[in-house]
């Protein structure tokens, strides 16, 4: 009982420090923000493919996150979350649990999608989810990052209810639907991962046979 109270206390502290972090600060660049945008755009070669230039464009979420240094006021954050939630699309089959073995491969791949003249990826190279760059997952992989929370035993701890499966799918598809300006990419929105690939990652997280939950 005492422990429970103590834990509740901890949560309150965490929450209040969050809202504290949301206090208004000057937008990056201050009065030079427009100049900065100009020199940034002027830094790239003119003769690259059009698709490369598109990668420098910002949607509303990107722009707002930059302005608020990744910490938008809650009200604005909620608007962004709502807008991002509306972008989520599902696979034609409607099945959200794929093959965890495929998901395991995607989680480890950090290459794909590099462009430019110095070290581009060969065309058609598999774009991975690169989950281990930021998350702990299967126990056997020791080289994991900590930018995101540990997802070890994701399914074991949270279960495999349809709600949990949908949550995992939605989160990978568009992370900003849940936390505006999170560090996590919006894999589905950008077409970085296909809906089918996302179902494989969902299975890697939730399937009881997946090494995420088994070991």
């Amino acid at each position: 009982m005492k422990l429970k109270i103590a834990l509740f206390g901890l949560c309150t502290v965490a929450l209040s420090s969050l809202s504290f972090a949301g206090k208004p600060v000057e937008a990056p660049g201050g009065k030079y923000a427009d100049d900065a945008e100009q020199i940034f755009r002027a830094s790239f070669r003119e003769d690259g493919p059009k698709e490369w230039k598109l990668r420098l464009m910002q949607d509303e979420t990107m722009q707002t996150c930059g302005t608020y240094r990744d910490n938008p006021p809650r009200k604005i954050g909620q608007q962004l979350e709502k807008a991002n939630m509306a972008t989520i699309k599902y696979p034609a089959s409607g099945k959200l649990m794929g093959n965890w073995k495929e998901g395991e491969k995607l989680a480890a791949v950090g290459t794909g999608g590099h462009v430019g003249f110095i070290q581009p990826d060969p065309p058609g190279r598999l774009k991975g989810g690169n989950c281990y760059a930021c998350h702990q997952l299967a126990k056997k992989e020791i080289a994991y990052g900590t930018i995101g929370p540990s997802l070890q035993h994701f399914g074991k701890i949270r279960g495999n209810s349809p709600e949990m499966v949908k949550y995992a799918y939605d989160k990978v598809y568009n992370s900003n639907a849940f936390t505006a300006c999170t560090n996590m990419p919006r894999f589905g929105l950008h077409g970085w991962l296909t809906p089918e690939q996302i179902t494989h990652i969902v299975a890697f997280l939730i399937d009881p046979e997946s090494p995420v939950n088994k070991d």
Binding site: A108, Y132, A133
Partner: protein, 155 residues
Amino acid sequence: MNNQRRNVLKTGSGAALLSVLAAAGIITPGMALADWNKAAFDAKSMADTLKAMGAGAPADSKDVQVTGPDIAENGAVVPVGVATSLPNVTMVAILIEKNPNALAASFTLPEGTEANIQTRVKMGQTSNIYALVKSDGKFFMATKEIKVTLGGCGG
């Protein structure tokens, strides 16, 4: 750590010395020594390599040490060392089991040179590293696993 390095460089073992012999080539390498052991370096498996080196099936020895980290941040440069307290050592070698060719380097030690050598090797993947030592005409071996991890942004 880096500061330490500078100190070692600048003071520890004496000023860093570098000298370019203008007339490089006066002294040629490989002087009067046996030619590069092509058969051993071309061999793929551990067994074939040991055979090509005339080492047969060496006995494991607690008196041989392979030094190196348990984990390498990158496989392109893995610091490894071989040391032994065995007597009359005339040769030491470093073998990497899972590389395309197991033998990485071998060293002939004249009398007076200590059986304690450090170098850096490439590892294609996590593998056992073997130290091979020839002492009193007999071969001995020791091993250590070094894990090669994926690093950085992953691309």
